[in-house]
Symmetry: C2
Subunit: 435 residues, 2 copies
């Protein structure tokens, strides 16, 4: 059979890894795919910077012209970003090419447009590499768990943040110090905003929410809170209460819609998810039939991401000549049967809370705090008072609440902060049981 011909856009980390793995495992991949996979060319902005891994493969710099090449079947987009990548992907689709991309930002922001165009042109858009690197999360959710009504998805989907949180906990160091170290080691970018701000995680959980619940991609509705303001004090207190703090992307089917949120989250230390440390990723999925399953592995890196990109190329190769309904729908559900259930506003999200306040150690302060929560209908799960500082006569009080709505909690918090003995600094975190 004639080889499948691939045009590769981008020869950075992932592009280089893709070329290396395709070359190294050529024989094994052919034994699986039944057809050789051949990279026709690599398109980069600056030919001088074309990756060594390109070897004898032609290098071009005319990305937008390249995708029109009638000699290729598949365009693999690993440029990243949402400018030229978007133009290139839409053009590839318009020219009848199948697309493999690892670009979560592109799909989280423009997925609905891209999938609609792909459907019109009868081409596949495969994107396993866009979420959690080598872990086949998209495949698992779209196919492996297809019998289930998905209840929730919770993922550690940003390796940089997880590395920082793991280090803060292990070494008892503050955020800024660990971030600097992570940057030195190459675990964090010079500008780490996307990672530590939760934006990258929100891109990924947005895609998973669409696939899990059969809804359109709605990144603009995601609630996003990163880890930059997280204090190592709260990591320590959480630990004492039997919890670890992880940056989770959460998508949950609630009474009135789908919750879609990213924030630092207390999870019970005994859960297997709590043991996911360093730059690793893990995705928990709760299905009504399967119960809770977890998928764990490297969430980024050249070859782990290449593993997902090449799996997609193999799948596209296999199904190239198939009828559209013989392929798995882009977002798991048939495009005509996407659900219009909305995203729940954050004020209506129901979860439980961790609150740390600093108080002047006066008689009745604990009682006032408890009374204020009770007046708002919020019941207390546990409470911890941390040692009085003799000099300032100040102490920390930590409260874990039972489930309440975010709006209700915020209202109570506003009143707590006005209590006479309560000082202005506080921390408010959310807690999930993951059962």
């Amino acid at each position: 059979m004639r080889p499948v011909r691939v045009g590769l856009l981008g020869a950075g980390t992932v592009g280089g890894g893709t070329l290396r793995v395709l070359a190294r495992n050529r024989e094994e991949i052919s034994r699986r795919a039944n057809r050789p996979i051949e990279v026709a060319w690599v398109a980069v902005r600056d030919a001088a910077k074309a990756h060594d891994d390109a070897g004898a493969i032609p290098v071009r710099t005319d990305t937008l012209a390249a995708v029109e090449d009638p000699g290729i079947d598949v365009v693999v987009e690993v440029i990243g970003g949402t400018t030229i990548a978007k133009d290139a992907v839409l053009s590839a689709i318009a020219h009848g090419k199948h697309v493999v991309t690892a670009n979560k930002a592109l799909l989280a922001l423009h997925g609905n447009e891209i999938f609609a165009a792909a459907r019109k042109n009868n081409v596949m858009v495969a994107f396993e590499g866009a979420v959690s690197g080598c872990i086949p999360t998209i495949k698992v959710l779209r196919e492996g768990l297809a019998a289930n009504r998905i209840e929730w998805i919770a993922g550690i989907v940003n390796g940089t943040s997880n590395f920082i949180l793991s280090e803060m906990r292990a070494k008892g160091l503050p955020f800024a110090e660990v971030l600097a170290e992570a940057q030195r080691l190459g675990y964090a970018e010079a500008d780490p905003t996307f990672d530590i701000g939760g934006i990258d995680a929100a891109h990924k959980i947005t895609l998973l929410s669409a696939i899990g619940f059969g809804i359109p991609v709605q990144f603009d509705k995601a609630y996003i809170e990163g880890i930059a303001d997280l204090s190592d004090t709260d990591i320590t207190y959480a630990e004492e209460l039997g919890y670890r703090i992880k940056l989770l992307g959460i998508a949950r089917r609630a009474q009135d819609g789908i919750e879609l949120r990213v924030h630092p989250t207390l999870i019970p230390a005994g859960r297997i998810m709590a043991s996911v440390d360093g730059a690793m990723n893990a995705i928990l999925v709760k299905g009504d039939a399967a119960g809770v399953t977890m998928y764990y592995g490297a969430g980024a890196g050249a070859e782990p991401t290449a593993s997902a990109v090449i799996a997609d190329i193999i799948e596209v190769t296999r199904l190239m000549a198939a009828e559209p309904d013989e392929r798995v729908p882009y977002l798991a559900f048939q495009p005509d049967s996407l659900s219009d259930v909305g995203i729940v506003p954050m004020a209506d999200v129901r979860t439980s809370y961790y609150l740390r306040v600093r108080v002047r150690d006066e008689v009745g302060v604990l009682a006032d705090l408890a009374r204020t929560l009770a007046d708002s209908g919020i019941s207390i799960d546990s409470m911890l008072q941390k040692g009085v500082d003799g000099e300032t006569n100040e102490a920390d009080i930590v409260v874990l609440t039972h489930t309440t709505s975010e709006g209700q909690f915020d209202e109570a918090l506003g009143r707590i902060l006005k209590l006479p003995a309560i000082l202005p600094a506080y921390a408010r975190l959310r807690r999930e049981d993951l059962t």
Copy 2:
């Protein structure tokens, strides 16, 4: 589109779960599959025992005649065993039906014959439910990690054994006591041989080895050691050395072939696999590009297994009209390019060992033991002497070795047991680092 018509063989635990989940999630499943799935009939041995879940669905008792029904497209076999299940599956294939089965014993023993027949008749045989319940391990290995040269697979694939080992460790109880409790709770069968003897785990790792390495199914070559002889003393000592003991199915690409073995195994307590407790399953896979990934969930039970069975029905539905090469090969690799690399004899397997011997506390016993290992070219990683019993003047010595071959270790063990101060009782376990 006309519904896909399914004939269901067996209405026990998994059959009942399949009927329940198909009914409950009918609308959601149609939105994914683009076509309704209809159970035409349920075939059971004894109609009186037909599961309540069958409801209005016709119940037949003529299993072998039923599979010939020209009105059905797919036969779902959840009878279990290798007698009537084998006849029914082969007959279904001969009559051009696609097959979905959760029967690991059947495929581990007769997979080569069944897949060859299916290929000849151009039908699919899907078997996600045969390994690790709801966890889509087959899909992950056949498709999600298709870019990788697989280095090894290690799985906790028998929930009963894992439940027993977890309880022995948590409660410090001996095997027999925990087994009795597991039987009382329904976690272990009245005749638990298949589970605690490692046979069930060997069925599963045999299937995974075929898919991972592109070799035929070779259950008869698997080395199998169960947990019935495992002492709680060794669980305690392993813990002190920083290890947990799990019953692992292991398939590894070695120098001269594929290792295929099931045995209790020491794994470092810090590995995420060590946190897999109770009846849960987890499969670790090491690929050259992806690195180590893990897949975790319920390995058995009515609805978890139904989750896998129905995912297979949906996939078969989608690809029913597709060309054979548009479907994923049965054993991941194209049938004509299966590898004939052999299974490594156990004596040639290279790993490291845990040895516990009971000694008379005499001068020089430790030196003799260490010298014997050294003479066999086996180097010691660590050694632990456990308290001398004042009455008997006996003590336990525990040795962890570095990597050696099983043959070499057994030879040294033979000589150790002949040393004058060494008593006859001993325990020998294998250790894996899983990195």
